[in-house]
């Protein structure tokens, strides 16, 4: 049974860090001291790498395949999520276009930021996005993701999504109707097939810029810089 020693000097004194994420020394069963730094130990510390495209023909085939099976992370961040269920229901039936919902980020290739992002949700959205497998794409719905929308003067919602995540396609509307979201998917497919949907690589290339933007507004940054 591990025992915890508390308040060891020289520890991380970030006031926002949750207790389970703080650096601490654990006494092992045989009395040995184990230094634990959850943010370092539980996540990969290596800086992520961009994935280089393979040869042209293979890449073309892969892009076609990627475009035709868009698995969407079921994470509705704002009002827009009200139009996602109709999209998947009989009338619009997005499954026939290769769009399917997935429950976990590990299985998904698309994240729909469906409208405004409260700062608290932005943190979760970033974590979800970073846990998704490459290549990954972002669809932004509604005015809110473009320039703040309804909540342009709110103290708790971001104004421009492209400062925090690399966005592939924007769909206008407040909220966009399911039909408009479908055309958003069509546009995304086009973009993937043309090989322009390099959001994941872009994110990694400009990681420092994105992280700086994110850290500027997420004041209680208590997670590793890259969650994988």
């Amino acid at each position: 049974m591990a025992e915890e020693k508390e308040n060891i000097t020289g520890m991380h004194d970030d006031k926002f860090l949750a207790p389970e994420n703080k650096k601490r020394i654990v006494i092992g069963p045989e009395g040995e001291e184990i230094h634990v730094d959850p943010l370092q130990d539980y996540f990969c510390t290596e800086r992520p790498q961009t994935s280089e495209p393979r040869n042209k023909t293979v890449e073309k085939f892969l892009n076609w395949a990627r475009a035709e099976s868009l698995w969407v992370l079921g994470f509705g961040t704002g009002c827009g999520s009200i139009e996602i269920p109709p999209l998947l229901s009989p009338r619009f039936d997005a499954y026939r276009f290769g769009v399917a919902m997935r429950a976990t980020p590990r299985q998904s290739s698309v994240i729909i930021i469906s409208g405004y992002l409260a700062v608290k949700t932005l943190k979760r959205a970033i974590r979800s996005y970073e846990q998704m497998q490459n290549p990954k794409f972002v669809i932004a719905l509604g005015s809110c993701t473009i320039n703040g929308g309804m909540y342009w003067d709110s103290y708790n919602t971001i104004n421009r999504l492209d400062h925090y995540l690399p966005v592939d396609v924007y769909v206008a509307g407040c909220m966009p109707r399911p039909e408009a979201i479908l055309s958003g998917f069509n546009k995304l497919k086009e973009r993937i097939r043309a090989g322009r949907a390099e959001g994941a690589n872009e994110y990694i290339t400009n990681l420092d810029w994105y992280k700086a933007n994110q850290k500027k507004i997420i004041k209680d940054w208590n997670m590793p810089d890259y969650n994988w």
């Binding site: 079921g74 509705g76 139009e83 229901s89 429950a103 409260a118 949700t121 003067d153 709110s154 103290y155």
Partner: protein, 398 residues
Amino acid sequence: MKNKLNILNWKPDRSSFPDMGEDGKPVISLDSEKFIKVWQGPNHPGITGNMSLELTISGDEVVESKTHVGYLHRGFEKLFERRRYIQCFPTCIRMCVPEPDTNEYNLARGVEELDGIEVPEMANWLRMIVLEMARLQVLLRMVPGQAGTMGLGLGVQWGMYYRELILDRMEELTGARIYHMYILPGGVRGLLPDGFKQRLEENLVKIEGFLKDIDKLILHNAVFKKRAIGIGHIPKDWVDQYGIVGPVARAAGYQRDVRKDYPYLYYDQIDFDYNIEHDSDMFARFLVRRKDLETTLDILRQIMAKMPDKGEIRAETPNVLHWKIPKGETYVRCESSRGEYGFYMVADGSEFPRRINLRGPSYTHAIAVLEKLLVNANISDVSAIMLSLATCPPEIER
């Protein structure tokens, strides 16, 4: 139903695990390694909004739960302070995403009450139509959704289609699918289009057929009954103590319906009844909503029969660009599909509201009630209980 009683009386056997303290409550210490902490959310669990539950579980049973909200917080009440009264309307409807019309109506009514504006008769009937259509639309998601949270997705798919029919009518009448912006202070924004009543009636007939399907698919479904009866039982004395409203209170045998208790619009001219159940469990709440659906269809038909064909749609108001509301305060409420939905409004005599505070049903349902109710629940029932309480995070957070 014999079994049902047994289920009601059933208590988990805690004689051995987890450890019970001297006060009879389980001793919850994560270090004991008998517990696991599970976070549910903030992804949508089912068809409610973003909200997370911090669950401490022992085996597959919840021993402690905490609600965390704020993922959808937009600071509406702050935004209202710097918007003129008319500008509050596009903002306020976004406070509750599935059923925006109650927001519009409450705010409009508050403004009218504070400034003493009489709304034309026709406008009031049109408001009723929209409010009832909104209720219908939400219930068509929520009633089959109750089974959906238990894995029966077929009803949800069907319900979604019938909801679409109502949304089509909404679009026709109000000009939008979700955020209707139809009710403005002084009146509404348009008469019924030609042939609207007939098309709505056709839809209502289809929905009636759908109700029969729901009965077969869900109501008389052995699995659903097994999982719903006796689960999420709310003791009757909680209702006032926790401020429980709407279908949840009605399922506990209380006659609570704003439409009848504090009649607004022309609900006093409409013939309908409280839908009461007494078992106060998930199944009773499902039954209340299922009856509400029928009542709504009936009310819609009554409205269509009673409303005039033509009339003024808006009373004359001061220039909306600089509309000053005299100093005063009021609390207005209406019955949403989830229960009493109220706005507390304070005007200070200027062009901007001083304070508009929303009190939605979820404010207590999803925090005080849910946290208590989830204790001892099975982890697989968590999202079902959430939905049966009609959790809607945007209205908690605003």
